[in-house]
Amino acid sequence: MSPAPGATAAPVRREFRFPPLGVYGYVCIAVLLFWLFAALFAPYIAPHTESAIVTGTSFAPIGDEGLLLGSDYLGRDLASRLIYGARTTLTLALVATILAFVLGVVTGFIAGIAGGWTDSVISRVVDAFISFPTIMLALLIVSIFGTSLAALVCAIGFIEATRVFRISRALAVNTMTQDFVEVARARGESLWWILWNEVFPNAFVPLSTDFGLRYTFSILLLSALSFLGLGVQPPYADWGSMVKDNMTGIFVGAAAVLLPALAIFTVTLSINFLVDWNLARAQKDISDELVK
């Protein structure tokens, strides 16, 4: 069996090269691992529970009275609250993001594949929601449905879903005009088969990138709501409400107000950095392809 004349296929390569990440990249990963660990094992590593008042001093300084990071305005252990806060904030945001993706991807793919008036109707509705500033929309929903954890998660999930819808729809439309989808349609494949086998695998990488970004937005939105007092309610600790509750401490330079803010900052920044790096890598591959 002789291969085709003029055939110069690249050799088959399957080995995985670990991508060069740089110092910042590893710092980001370490930060994320640290918070992940805190969130997962909160009850085991936190010296106290999140609501226990352990000292009479509010805003006890770092290291005072055997408290690693001092105390908050009620005299609760700040370190413990930060750890439990990680759990609340990161979990709620994650559930909200997953909800956003389930909702957004399903409707986005349906709109992108069905086209026609189905697409027009869904797209117009989504556009209407997108034209609202997120925080206003969130306030509206929360003021209607209350501030239970479920309502919060649904509100954030719904808002982010409108964004996910847009990218999913674009990806589906993109893939549907490709020749390999035409071939599948000509073969007589069902829409579901095409969706699952042709569209989804090609949308996976861009969607997973978007997932990272949506997650940071969810964290920020949740924290913002909590900061406004419409988010997570006491006695649960969450980073946004911790910043709000300890606001008075800002005049004494208390760690209690700075550290939760710093936690939000480090987590979102790390995720953003990794997403950007991943994007840059993908774009480099694409631009290499293009000049061919």
Partner: protein
């Protein structure tokens, strides 16, 4: 005047599949001056494209620079930073390649992508970029130049996209234009116009041009000087006339001797008696188009009253210029674009127009192979999965049986069976197209629709695919519908030819009869547009009666009269422009749609009027 581009003693290496580096360019030096077209010719693998790309300081993946210098406007460019290179590539050098599909993003309108360059590089304001685009589009003979920019890439035909790529490249007002086989995917009549447009643009802008091609007849029209390459070395260089008529080097003489003959019927095709059997597939009075259907008619109608019969086991060539509806015809047959009038019959049985309503057995019998190998495969799936799916879907094969059959199919298209474990991007264009064919063969169909299967490929690779198709057609009892804009390719392979013009069948019949008188006036224009290998042919051709008429107007898909009347030298005013031409039926099912009598259509092509 000093040279705009100077390449000095360039050496490059390429990596073989086995991993070792081999020299592919050995000590090439050349100069390109402003206002001059320098052609690089030679067979596939001679290093033409590699050298042309080096003027952009670009080495393809798997290639590297190992010596020499490239000077662009006096600046050595190989050592520039990536940023500087990008700046130079975007603004000063334009690269016009063979395969346009890869250069456009399907998510944005054409205009957005074409005017992005000038806008980003700040060479002109948006409004000016827009008017310039319309102007270039008009010169590239694109239909509706004012409106075509609003379309998306998948809404224009392959040939149109190719010309839009040229518009995009030229919109930055580059100093150096690098053409790499830019007309391989375009039909002959359009090619004449596009070549003329390239010539005008080069002359007016005073840019320098490198022109890479294998087609000596095209070189004769375009080049001022020619460099003949073989195995990465310059064999001979000189003025166009000297190279073409008094080649000094033996290799150049060989090349001249191997010039592709003008279209000729293949021996095998002429002898088959076609009307003996009922056709396996037949189209009857098909009307089809795109856009939302209103009142029984789609937004844009593309096909008008198309009647075509495909005899069992034969190869039927469909030719016509870019945008005339060839691909649309294939889509109608496969049901992807349902016709709104007329019938598609498979063995006498009428098929539902929409693929959604056809049953599996019927779907299995008609398979489609598409134009662009690069986008025909899901990039995330192995060859084994791509080939395995039709086996599973139509024939219910699974497991080891399916894997064995995948291997057999690969062998049928002359690929080793272990290619099953590769991803599409690990195949060359020609190999992808073979797998593409294998995917169609997997269904064991009665009819395979091949839409421009060779036009995105290198000529030599394309020729090998045609060979493969011929041998498959001999061995299997499968009918091939071979869609192409290239008359020579179709003529060498097809038993019958269907000539489409503006969505209507102008002429159809056995290949031999199509290529000899009587001719439909459009077929005659096609035949006379195949370039001849002499300088000045382009100018002479444009001065002929046919071409002068042809340029008077772009194709207009009107609803009344003969669609060709705006370009036809034999047009009868008052008749051709208002009444639909009658169909003359001659022997061997040869049909010509024209108001003129058969006796008037005997004149040979290329006659000056």
């Amino acid at each position: 005047m000093s040279a705009l581009l100077r390449i000095e003693d360039l050496h490059m290496e390429g990596r073989r599949p086995t991993g070792e580096w081999m020299p592919i360019v050995r000590g090439v030096s050349l100069e390109a001056r402003r206002g001059e077209v320098l052609a690089l010719i030679g067979e596939s693998g001679a290093g033409k494209s590699t050298i042309a790309l080096s003027s952009l300081a670009y080495a393809r993946p798997g290639c590297r620079f190992t010596g020499g210098e490239v000077l662009f406007d006096g600046t050595p460019v190989l050592d520039l930073s990536l940023e500087q290179k990008r700046e130079m590539r975007g603004r000063r050098v334009a690269y016009i390649a063979q395969s346009a599909a890869a250069a456009f993003n399907v998510a944005h309108t054409l205009a957005a992508q074409i005017t992005e360059g000038p806008a980003v590089h700040g060479t002109m304001p948006q409004a000016e970029a827009d008017t310039q685009m319309v102007d270039l589009a008009r010169r590239m003979r694109l239909p509706e130049p004012e409106r075509i920019g609003r379309k998306y890439p998948h809404q224009v035909s392959g040939g149109q996209l190719q010309r839009l790529l040229a518009v995009m490249a030229m919109s930055c007002g580059p100093d150096l234009l690098v053409f790499d086989e830019p007309t391989t995917a375009i039909d002959v009549t359009t090619q004449v116009e596009v070549l003329a447009a390239f010539k005008d643009v080069i002359r007016e802008s005073g840019a320098a041009a490198l022109y890479v091609t294998h087609d000596l007849a095209v070189v004769a029209q375009m080049a001022d000087r020619i460099i003949v390459l073989y195995g990465g070395e310059i064999m001979e260089q000189g003025g166009t006339d000297q190279i073409l008529h008094e080649p000094r080097h033996d290799y150049t003489r060989q090349l001249m001797a191997a010039v592709r003959p003008p279209p000729r019927a293949s021996g095998s095709g002429a002898d088959l008696e076609s009307s003996a059997q009922p056709p396996v597939l037949s189209l009857q009075g098909i009307d089809a188009g795109y856009g939302g259907v209103k009142g029984g008619k789609p937004g844009v109608q593309i096909l008008f009253d198309v009647d075509v019969d495909i005899p069992r086991g034969q190869a039927v060539g469909v030719i016509g210029e870019s945008g005339c509806g060839k691909s649309t015809m294939a889509r109608v047959i496969s049901g992807l674009t349902p016709s709104f009038e007329g019938e598609v019959r498979l063995d006498g049985k009428t098929l539902p127009p929409d693929v959604k309503h056809r049953d599996k057995k019927d779907l299995q019998r008609v398979q489609l192979v598409l134009q662009m190998p690069d986008v025909s495969f899901n990039p995330k799936k192995l060859v084994a999965q791509a080939l395995g799916r039709p086996l599973e879907f139509y024939l219910g094969m699974t497991g080891a049986e399916r894997d064995r059959r995948v291997g057999e199919l690969l062998n049928m298209v002359e690929l080793p069976a272990d290619y099953a474990g590769r991803f599409p991007h690990e195949l060359s264009g020609g190999e992808k197209q073979r797998v593409n064919l294998a995917r169609a063969l997997a269904a064991e169909p009665d009819v395979i629709l091949c839409d421009e299967v060779t036009s995105a490929l290198d000529t030599v690779v394309g020729a090998a695919i045609i060979k493969l198709l011929e041998s498959l057609q001999e061995r299997l009892d499968t009918a091939f519908v071979f869609i192409s804009h290239d008359l020579s390719t179709v003529a060498s392979f097809a038993n019958r030819i269907v000539v489409l013009y503006a969505g209507r069948v102008a002429e159809q019949g056995p290949t031999r009869r199509i290529l000899s008188p009587p001719y439909h006036p459009y077929t005659r224009l096609l035949l006379s547009s195949v370039p001849e290998m002499r300088t000045g042919w382009l100018e002479d051709h444009r001065a002929t009666r046919e071409a002068e008429q042809a340029m008077a107007d772009v194709v207009n898909i009107g609803l009344t009269g003969c669609p060709f009347h705006t370009r036809c030298p034999l047009m009868i005013p008052g008749t051709c422009d208002v009444k639909r031409p009658p169909v003359h039926r001659l022997e061997e099912d040869h049909r010509i749609a024209c108001h003129r009598e058969i006796g008037e259509l005997q004149e040979a092509p290329g006659v000056h009027g």
